[in-house]
Symmetry: C2
Amino acid sequence: MRAVLHHGPRDIRVETVPDPVLLEPTDAIVRVTLSCICGSDLWPYRRQDAPEHAHRIGHEFLGVVEEVGADVRTLAVGDLVIAPFMYSCGDCEFCRAGLQTSCVRGGFYGSESIGGGQGQVVRVPLADGTLVAAPVGEDDPRLPALLTLSDVMATGHHAAVSAGVGAGSHVVVIGDGAVGLCGVLAAHRLGAERITLLSTHEDRAAIGRRFGATEVIAERGEAAVAAVLERTDGLGAPHVMECVGMQGSWDTAVRIARPGGTIGYVGVPNGVDEGLDLSVLFRRNVTVRGGVAPARAYLPELLADVLDGTIDPSPVFDLELSLEEAPEGYAAMDQRRATKVLLRP
Amino acid sequence: MRAVLHHGPRDIRVETVPDPVLLEPTDAIVRVTLSCICGSDLWPYRRQDAPEHAHRIGHEFLGVVEEVGADVRTLAVGDLVIAPFMYSCGDCEFCRAGLQTSCVRGGFYGSESIGGGQGQVVRVPLADGTLVAAPVGEDDPRLPALLTLSDVMATGHHAAVSAGVGAGSHVVVIGDGAVGLCGVLAAHRLGAERITLLSTHEDRAAIGRRFGATEVIAERGEAAVAAVLERTDGLGAPHVMECVGMQGSWDTAVRIARPGGTIGYVGVPNGVDEGLDLSVLFRRNVTVRGGVAPARAYLPELLADVLDGTIDPSPVFDLELSLEEAPEGYAAMDQRRATKVLLRP
């Protein structure tokens, strides 16, 4: 079968690899119907040093169950399943608490034995705890929307939940990538009344407005901070969603959070070298909450809302390619010619 | 009248200063019955550079109202009042939300015109919003316990509330100073079932046990982290109270927090130069919550519990001096010969 491998700095290749097989009785083999490239896939892509070995990549996919291990109880061959971006047992204290990303048996895709989501077939460990079946066919037009539940929509939702967004909230969303845009949609879904999106890309801002942003601030850094403060009587916003993960976006988040407010964050920390400045947070009693999103926990409720048409996050995909064209997909996202790239195997 | 002034590095003097007078119609003049020295008073005391001018110091006091401005409605001459460590209007959106430390009109004691709590008389601005009357006499034996509500007990309570401590919780308290010890008492009061105190001073640990600590770990740094992990199946504690504010205590807090857990912090950040390492918090979805404690918000409920004997935080005072002996009080706390010093004017 064909799969995407990361070889080195900006070196992505599609190669023939062995078909995965069941290794554990709790595994499922999933033939991928749709996968995509994540903003976080760009971090290894952009690294200057090459990995020791080329490695499989991709962690967002949905597909059809082709084979299940003897201990798999809740899934059957033929089911269309959505895979959260991490696998998890569903049974440990963290899984039961809805924090499957800290599952004591769980882990990430992209290793040699498990494979990556950007491939034609994936071995999914702990299938019962991990996969969520969706009552749709392989040709359902909602598949791209459902694929966002694998990561970006769940992650945007985690940012909103972590920021304490609820009915009537005012929230500022930092980041107009796929996660930030999904964060806007999640905040809107949770009833936020005022959603301020920081976006300097008009095409992304347009999606943000469609998703529920009530205002867009087309500034960065100091100017963005000044604009938010100006629009909030100088006090800042009670809810801030940090959907980038870099020093600049964090500096903005900390400075626009209102006293007693909450920063919900989901951007993978990358280059936040100076660390968080506690003194400002301390003085203002600003809470910092978030992390890697337990997509598995949120999947059922978000799935229901996609199926009944309440939300449609699919506009975050603005380029569709075949799996063989994955290298072009990475380049397009790296050069910001695309927000998020859909891959059809 | 006599008051304590900070002149420079480890240079504290008691001097005669003008008696304060009403400046605003919302002021009250309070004759101090009891005040004390705070751990945070040691930060300026220990600084290597001298302040531009000698300045008044102290922010914890209780006393008797001697005079009120024309607009003061809720207080009368003769009332015994407890002063939270900041003054606040009681009327702005932050005061109404219980975050009086972010009051838009409020501020700190210790300036030239307002004076410090370590003095014989203090002008208290915004008296209605700030002071809380207690139905006790000047010679009530509970005064030391009531004085802790001015800062340390309220601050320990804020740490516990911020850490999400409730009935049945397991919490680790970092810091065995007066705030950490009050944090133990607060966690116990909130129903925590297991309270682990990190303390390397046997006398302080003894107070901690009396306040409700169910176990004491007499280690610091790496060893403390290892001990907590060993006692929590390697997973860490769901609730952590950071009551110190230094890099080492923060490093410990971050490393012993269980995935999905919460660090409640109240230690004034001091020398946390490396900032908070977001990557660990991110991976584990650990929440960081806290800041400067809104003592005014907590005062009524804590006051009721002191009055009816439910809590008695007064054992944190282990040295009692006259106001004239304040320099010796600072030295004793600086050299860790005392945990917290009571000053009788």
